[in-house]
Amino acid sequence: MEDSAAPIAGYAELDVLSNFTFLQGASHPDEYVLKAAALGLRAVGIADVNSLAGVVRAHVAAREAGVQLLVGARLRFQDAADLLAYPMDRAGYGRLCRLLTLGRRRARKGDCQLYRADLADWHEGQLFVAIPPEDLGPGDLGPEADSVFARYVTELGDWARLFPGRLYLAARTRYRGDDERRLKFLSDLAGSLPIPLVATNGVLMHGPSRLPLADVLSCIREKCCIDTAGYRVLDNAERHLKPAARMARLFRDYPDALARSLEIAGRCRFSLDELRYDYPDETTREGRSPQEELKHLTWKGARQRYPGRIPEKVSTQLEHELSLIGQLSYAPYFLTVHDLVSFARSAGILCQGRGSAANSAVCYCLGVTAVDPDRSDLLFERFISSERNEPPDIDVDFEHERREEVIQYIYEKYGRAHAGMTATVIHYRTRGAIRDVGKAMGLSADSIAALATQASGWSRDGLSDERVREIGLNPDDRRLRLTLDLAAEITGFPRHLSQHVGGFVMTRGRLDELVPVENAAMEDRTVIQWNKDDLDALGILKVDVLSLGMLTCLRKGFTLIRRHYGAAFDLNSVPGKDSAVYDMLCRADAIGVFQVESRAQMNFLPRMKPRTFYDLVIEVAIVRPGPIQGDMVHPYLRRRNGEEAVHYPSEELRRVLEKTLGVPLFQEQAMSIAMVAAGFTASEADKLRRAMATFRHSGTIHTFREKMIEGMAARGYARDFAERCFRQVEGFGEYGFPESHAASFALLVYISAWMKCRYPAAFACALLNSQPMGFYAPAQIVRDAREHGIEVRPADVNHSDWDCSLEPGGTVDVTGQAMALRIGLRQIKGLSREDGDWLVAARGNGYTDPLAIWRRAGLTPRALDVLARADAFSSMAIDRRQALWQIKGLGDEPLPLFAAAGEEDRGGEPGVVLPPASLGEEVVEDYAALRLSLKAHPLALLRAQHPDFASLTPAERLMEIPVEAQVSVCGLVLVRQRPGSASGVIFITLEDETGVCNVVVWSKIFERFRRAIITARLMRITGRLQREGIVIHLVADKIEDLSPLLDRLGNGISFQPELSPADEFSNPVLPQLKQQGKTRPVPRPRHPRDQAKVLFPSRDFH
């Protein structure tokens, strides 16, 4: 009894599951560490089930909180009870990684299969804590319980023999009424073997308030509802971290068990800081060291980049960078990237570095990036700094169709034991959270569906009462309230690990002794358990091998230009400063141009009127959620157009903001403001940026906010300016562009614009051949090409290749040559690549009838049917219906006996006359089979058919209408967007035969015409016209769904124009898991970067 008064020896909690044991642990690793620090625990050990995925986060938190962290894992065997494994040293840690890799690699993705026998090879250097099974214990009598007991005693005996002196038995109080008996029982069991007993608390949550969440996680895991969960939920909230004093009271009769927790913590001195990361040796020539090799290559590259003389500025910069790289010994890393880029070049794959690497002159000279350091001010310290002690991050984009070659090259070069892809932790986002929690809380399927449709309306505080009421639910309902609160709480919880888009880690030592490696969903891919932030925190270098559709397009374009126009260009040799290119951009003639083709960008171009390369850099950076939310766009425009005086809040900020006319637009500037104006240190500013990026740590943001605004106020800045700056930093955290990155992208903007301007036929052709990519569907690309005077010819079995191609003919365009664009077979829906290739290969001098294709190319009637639907037989003078009729008459197999006979001999059928197709039917069929029609635009047909269309204004005539005039337009819906940065406003783009029309729908109008907006394929919109420069908007007052007219046009064949990949209503609530590939090529937003993609969509930027 007086034990409770005895001095408390302290305690270390060893049995903790974090939420990286998915759907089990109910707290983040860092929450445990902070709580442990607050409770004054000596140490805390986080051991997730067969995983080390969460340890780095815990490690980082522990480093800051000053608590000892034991890194370990809870081994869950297929044939034994759980063991906690805690490495004592680096070697032990390596073995644990190997063991987990073994179990993970033999199982499916996300799974792990370990057997007792596996431990025999990998147990050294680790301490183990055996967790007795739940059903072991006193009270349970009978043969069942006896056999459990007997089995467990044998198991413990085996373990004790395998690692004598390194095994402990865990005991915890369960609060089930029999704790005293059970502790005695376990203590006797431990004494009889003998194995020392250690006190734990089986922790599932950092504090008792997480009980509901823990229960909901159980329900999600068990796929049941909270009302029927029964014994699957917890009986009490005791499984949380407890202070030493309470543990001492619980274990008052077993003080040794308590002390042993400290003993274990004392024996396990391994820390992740010990991971000495060895970068693989890179091949060097002529006996040079990596640093010498890098120097050699850099100067060699510099001489090529600057054929005359290397500018002073550049050579100084190079010297500076090289010495810093040498100092931090990053040379091999640069050599790796150089090697990848050289490989890609040798294989003819276009590539270009992006991101902060573009701040480096070395990267420029190595050919990794393309931003000329001579022409811009680079902030090398943003890329590498000795102070930040954080590895450089070089992201390289490759052509999206050929990136796999680069990936396989890496595996080949380093071997699977030394190279692996980075993981991405998939977190619960609002939609998934509401779906899973809603199901667990027993909400009806349609309430959940209704809530999920509102997901985009969720702020960080959850869903507002009005929004809940709006969808017909009662926000005062307790169950609903609980659900919403829990959904908000679960948001940010990791759900599973996935493969990062392209992050690669290479090591000299074995990778699987650094971190467990597991299988990815894709065959032949292996993924490590850590993500990008984890690697950054541990200073492990990685290379991002990313893919970019525009590079594919440009490469195809260059090839076409070389073949058909005889001019050789590449990314570096495109002539710069071409004023015709800028003229084109100023007209917002930018369909297909990288980055600036989205609607928001196209609106912005005529206002921005870019004339120089740097204007493009700004253009890329400015139309982003960060600057938009920070309200930076309009001030910039006003200043640029001279409508507002450029002034600087202070002289010190003039230096930072001069080139963007006093308006902060780039990430670097936002950080510089924090440093210059609010007195942040460089590392503080960087921490600020990071705090923003991972928004689930929203708690820490407030401290920065205070510091920044107060700091600026103290230096004499206006408070509202400070507020605005902070808002912008906040926006940047999630979607910001550093200047160097914007510059890299701007280069692609220029090159693609140049190609569109100078070789429009080749550009359109390359764009079509790189689909799916970009913002526009093929129909708009083709239409744009025709508007630029290019003749587009239909897909035809006798003329088309698989890809779209150029053929002589048509009118002479800007190139001085006449090139027509022939639609390729790839455009035909449902035709396989193989069939297409056979068709082309066996073509010879051409086919005379469908039967010939059947015979010579061996295409199945099914494939022929697909061709017929695409009306690809017109060169045979057979129309669609005749072709279909003839093909339907073919059997399933070519008949060998008749093969020698004349091809017309089969059947002897009477000729038939089929009802002729109207033009409308033809057009609709074209859209159905090819996603576009060259014959006519549906709107042109409708206009001719329906007299009341006469009152509608064609899109091209909107220019002539006075502002504020009431007009009606009608068109096919191309895209509907609801950007998060524009509260509740919907943007719709309509297309008619003369052009496109941009419509703005305010949320009130949206509610009124909700159904039409969501379902219509053809809309008539009446509204007021607004114009700014040459940008025209229609502000909608009335929206009508005219889709039935389209169906009537097709006379029964439903007309489904292809929506832009960016459209946001075509599939409001598809579950995330079902997304993969099948339904739509664009994944739902997950990463903040992807989120940005939806806001300002273009599949090209990241």
Partner: protein
């Protein structure tokens, strides 16, 4: 009947739902799609085939209910029976249609047109959205009803012309065939007339020709009327009324045997029997018995009636006896044992030739339950069933015995947590004396006072800590977690006590007694 599922629901729910936008949903794969909609929902843009989520996006306050195919089918079955008023030759067509062969019946209703009009009007009056057509052939009528003008009647021999303008979809073709035809521009049935039969046969296997021939009467398509379900009823009429109780019992025995023979043939048993005795003066005397499980043993069933037969008032005698079985359910054949049930001895017949259909088991309390049930009413005989819950008062539920039998599998009493034999309905407050300051959890009291008796605690085990179910609002658990103790007093009696209140509070800690072990 294009809106049958919603029409049925509206009928069920009454007129409040008349003009509501209502949809019935069905789950296909992972998606929930709209299966049927009311007119109101239809005009708001909801159409069958949409996913629920899309429909919600269009109409946020759409009412939805899950589909119930069985109830729909049962409704169609009832409608088919109702239609027998027009012709005996009625059959179901798919899930939402009915065929009526009115050959020779039309004149009874004033001709074909008025028959059709009347039929449709009456069905419409019942709240069904219904379309109909009448033609020479079933295929023709099908086409008219679904694709033609509503209520149209094709005069004899004019089917070909009548069908020509209808879309090919009216031919009951598969979706794929239809889209092929549409692609060829063959949209109306008339377009097909001109085409050579061989060409059609080559291209569409046989289904287009087959359906076309059926519609035009070139191929016979007989309508098979529905089979009538035979009610489980047996009847016995007497030339002379009977009055003697023994005669009635013997007649009942015979009736039971006839009924049970049929039940055995169909491998089923009944749970409810009605015995109607028609008296010569027109009065009907009724007896009812129920059983806990489906049964088909005449002996056992007769025993259930035994106590009630004297309630019958024969007066001038019964001329007809009718025995009807309700609640007929599937009853598998058991291994037939040569066991003698305890009832045999009581019955005194001593015969063992009647096989007993139940496995002999010491725990079989069914006969007891049957008797109690027939005395007290089956709803009154209840037993406790485990419910998975950590909270003691939620961990069981009293259910009528015969329902329990069906639901019993799967749940078990939780192991390892002793619960008192008797749980008080409301925990009772007790006064306690503690040795230690009572703010400290982790100790039971030393002495407690319950119902004015003083109990000195000699032994105690605990605590078992239970947390209220956070997702439920329950006043009795409003004070938070409880620590339960098992305690034994000086005379060896065991109690289940709990301590309520904040775990760390110093003052207001209260103790309650919740149950008795022994």
């Amino acid at each position: 009947m294009p809106r049958l599922p919603t029409d049925r629901l509206i009928r069920q729910q009454g007129s409040v739902w008349w003009d509501k936008a209502l949809a019935v949903t069905a789950e296909t794969g992972n998606r929930i799609v709209i299966a049927a909609v009311t007119q109101a929902a239809g005009t708001s843009g909801i159409a069958p085939g949409m996913t629920l989520a899309d429909a919600r996006a269009v109409l946020p306050d759409l009412l939805t209910l899950p589909s119930d195919y069985r109830a729909d089918a049962a409704m169609m079955e009832r409608l088919a029976r109702w239609c027998c008023a027009y012709t005996p030759w009625v059959s179901l067509d798919g899930a939402d249609g009915l065929w009526l062969d009115v050959t020779g019946c039309a004149h009874l209703r004033g001709g074909e047109q008025s028959l059709l009009d009347e039929l449709l009007a009456r069905l419409g009056g019942y709240g069904f959205c219904v379309r109909g057509g009448l033609a020479d052939t079933p295929g023709g009528a099908w086409a008219l009803a679904r694709c033609g003008e509503n209520r149209s009647v094709v005069p004899p021999g004019r089917t070909r012309e009548a069908l020509a303008p209808l879309p090919v979809a009216a031919l009951r073709l598969e979706h794929e065939t239809l889209s092929k035809l549409t692609r060829l521009g063959l949209r109306r049935i008339g377009d097909l007339y001109a085409l050579p039969r061989i060409s059609l046969a080559n291209r569409f296997r046989l289904d287009v020709l087959y359906r076309l021939d059926q519609a035009l009467g070139r191929r016979a398509e007989p309508i098979t009327p529905r089979a009538h379900a035979r009610p489980y009823r047996v009847r016995m009429a007497f030339p002379e009324p009977i009055t003697q109780a023994s005669d009635i019992a013997a007649a009942l025995q015979l009736l039971l045997q006839r009924l049970c023979t049929r039940l055995r043939q169909e491998q089923s048993g009944c749970r409810h029997l009605e015995f109607h005795c028609h008296r010569v003066d027109g009065d009907i005397q009724r007896l009812e018995v129920g059983t806990a499980r489906p049964m088909r043993e005449p002996k056992q069933l007769a025993r259930l009636f035994a106590g009630h037969l004297n309630q019958l008032d024969a007066a001038f005698g019964f001329e007809t006896l009718i025995l009807a079985a309700n609640g007929v359910e599937q009853l598998e054949v058991f291994q037939e044992l040569m066991a003698v049930g305890e009832g045999e001895a009581v019955g005194g017949s001593g015969s063992v030739d009647e096989p007993v259909n139940e496995p002999a088991s010491g725990q079989d309390i069914a006969p007891l339950v049957d008797r109690l049930g027939n005395r007290l009413g089956f709803g009154q005989v209840r037993r406790l069933q485990p419910v998975a819950s950590h909270l003691p008062e939620r961990a069981y539920r009293a259910v009528p015995v015969f329902e329990a039998a069906a639901a019993e599998q799967g749940t078990a009493w939780p192991p390892g947590r002793p619960r008192p034999i008797r749980l008080l309905r409301h925990p009772e407050r007790i006064e306690t004396v503690s040795l230690l300051p009572s703010g400290e959890p982790g100790t039971p009291p030393a002495v407690f006072l319950w119902r004015r008796a003083r109990h000195e605690i000699r032994a105690a085990e605990g605590p078992e800590r239970l947390t209220p179910e956070w997702w439920r609002d329950e006043s009795s658990w409003a004070k938070g977690a409880r620590d339960y103790w098992r305690v034994e007093d000086e005379s060896g009696r065991r109690f289940w006590l709990y301590r309520e209140g904040p775990l760390r509070a110093v003052v207001p800690v209260q103790w309650f007694l919740h149950g008795l072990f022994a």
